[in-house]
Amino acid sequence: MNSLAIGEIMSILDVRNFRAYYFTKAGTVKAVDGVNLSIDKKTIIGIVGESGCGKSTLAKALSFNVEPPLKIVKGDIVIDGIKINDMTTDEIRRKILGIKVALIPQSAMNALVPTVKIRSFIKDVLKEKTGYTTLEIFELAVKRFKELNLPIEALDMYPFELSGGMRQRVLIAIATLLNPSLLIADEPTSALDVSTQKMVLETLYDIYRRGLVKSIIFISHDIATVRQIVDEIVVMYAGKFVEKGSTEEMINEPLHPYSKGLIFSILTPELIVRERVRKAKEVLLKGEPPSLINPPSGCRFHPRCPYAMDICRREEPPMIEVERNRFVSCWLYVKR
């Protein structure tokens, strides 16, 4: 019942009961606490939520960018038919990273090495993984840059010589050079001006359309941006998924009280926004998201929920399929 699984065979990613915690002196931060996710081939899925809901931790954990104090605690991961659980860290690094799954982090500046030209950076990254010769690697990079309409000259530049948008696009090209099955993009446009945001998204979409990656997980707090590119939206709150549906359904009729508050309070330059805001105020969210060291009992949203019932405080709501491919985890939708 507690499942988002559909179309097992077509799956690029299949994650069951996935947990990633930070072990700190102050306590264990349960940033990702039991999520199930299954992503089909040819899908772009958006995971949205506010600061501290665990979405970036999920991005890191699913792409195995895990460093202490963060640890993957539990859960089965199958990427493109390969069971990752049985693999050693070294095997994951050699066979999975960049080949089956790749991550685009929030800031390209931190991902690239400031004192190394893009060309040498690509060589360093690919050489160990592929065993290609330097020449082969450059040919691959030049071909890919041309394909994606990126200037070849960028290869001979240092990261600081590129504009923020260009840096991000170059990083997308590098991360996907080996055609990984799954690309995870964590807020790839959040540090950019509106005019460059669109170009970065175009590059991302281009990669997808050309089949260079099979599926994309797009993680962001900015639902209007996510909406431009994704087929499905998942809403995350306090380390858990609370709702999933097609983009149109999620934008127009979110079901979970938290999704309503979140999605109806997005302000875009559209006059209809005033009407949507009225709906947001019906569930106007009091207070702030809980600490993930000591999350609330039952439904983690109950202290802020205007519809909270007795059972919400006691028991965690199951994820139920209310319509085909429409999932919500809320006691209001459980028929009893």
């Binding site: 506010e50 900015d222 997005i266 302000l267 330059p269 559209e270 209809i272 926004v273």
Partner: protein, 268 residues
């Protein structure tokens, strides 16, 4: 027709940089606009458009190169000459800024921060009156005074810090508030309730407001009028309806196209 409380006339600010080879940057280039009582306007533009420079000049933190700012008919540079007059001005025109971290001294308690605002007041008041006014203001913005008065800024969440800043405005009750990206660091669900505090200021005290923002969505929701700034100039002005439905300047059109929306898609 409500009366005009702020007039900005031919305002220009040129920054000179470099010691030997001087370079001039025209941050604000001959702009004109006014604000009426109880009106909320937005100056919208990207970074470098001159919107924050304009805000700083109106707050009398920065001297313009040329042009005038008139508040209730008084030129804020020519007619304000001493501390007393400046106090009067800041009592009437005050600001809320983007970053609640840098707006607070971390060693000060909220009680101290709020009490200090009474320096702007002419009236003599005893401590108890001040504290009860402070509590009132904190309640207006949805904070529980007893819980936070003796806390320091770093003990509060980002949303609460921003509420304290807005509580200062409820305490001072200026005629005009300049809000420079007041919610850009705040998540969507908290943002709406913060913005509603500004609307409440307008409804309860007829406070005029200038929002300085890069966010056309925010401007659409809060403003009676939107002024679009580009390279130091105001290139377009109108109600949200006019700007969204019939943008006339190419820059406004481009900006509207590049902002992601809910009801249209870039890729299909």
């Amino acid at each position: 027709m409500s009366k005009v409380i702020l007039e900005v006339k031919n305002l220009t600010k040129v920054y000179r940089i470099g010691l030997i080879r001087q370079k001039e940057i025209v941050a604000v280039n001959n702009i004109n606009f006014n604000v009426k009582e109880g009106e909320i306007i937005s100056l919208v533009g990207e970074s470098g458009s001159g919107k924050t420079t304009t805000a700083r000049i109106i707050l009398r933190l920065l001297r313009p190169t040329s042009g005038n700012v008139l508040f209730n008919g008084k030129d804020i540079w020519r007619d304000i000459r001493n501390r007393k007059e400046l106090k009067w001005y800041w009592r009437n025109v005050n600001g809320v800024f983007q970053d609640p971290y840098s707006s607070f001294n971390p060693t000060h308690t909220i009680r101290f921060v709020m009490l200090r605002k009474f320096n702007l007041f002419d009236e003599e008041m005893d401590y108890d009156t001040k504290i009860s006014m402070i509590k009132e203001a904190l309640k207006e913005v949805g904070l529980i005074p007893e819980e936070i008065l003796d806390k320091r800024s770093f003990e509060l969440s980002g949303g609460m810090r921003q509420r304290v800043l807005i509580a200062q405005i409820f305490l001072i009750r200026p005629k005009l508030v300049i809000a420079d990206e007041p919610t850009s660091m705040i998540d969507a669900t908290l943002r709406l309730s913060l913005l509603d505090l500004f609307l409440k200021l307008r409804d309860e005290f007829k406070t005029s407001q200038i929002f300085i923002t890069h966010d056309l969505g925010l401007a659409t929701y809060t403003s009676d009028r939107i002024l679009v700034m580009y390279k130091g100039k105001i290139v377009e002005e109108g109600t949200p309806e006019e700007i969204l439905n019939k943008p006339s300047h190419p820059y406004t059109k481009k900006l509207l196209e590049s902002v992601p929306k809910l009801y249209s898609k870039w890729f299909t």
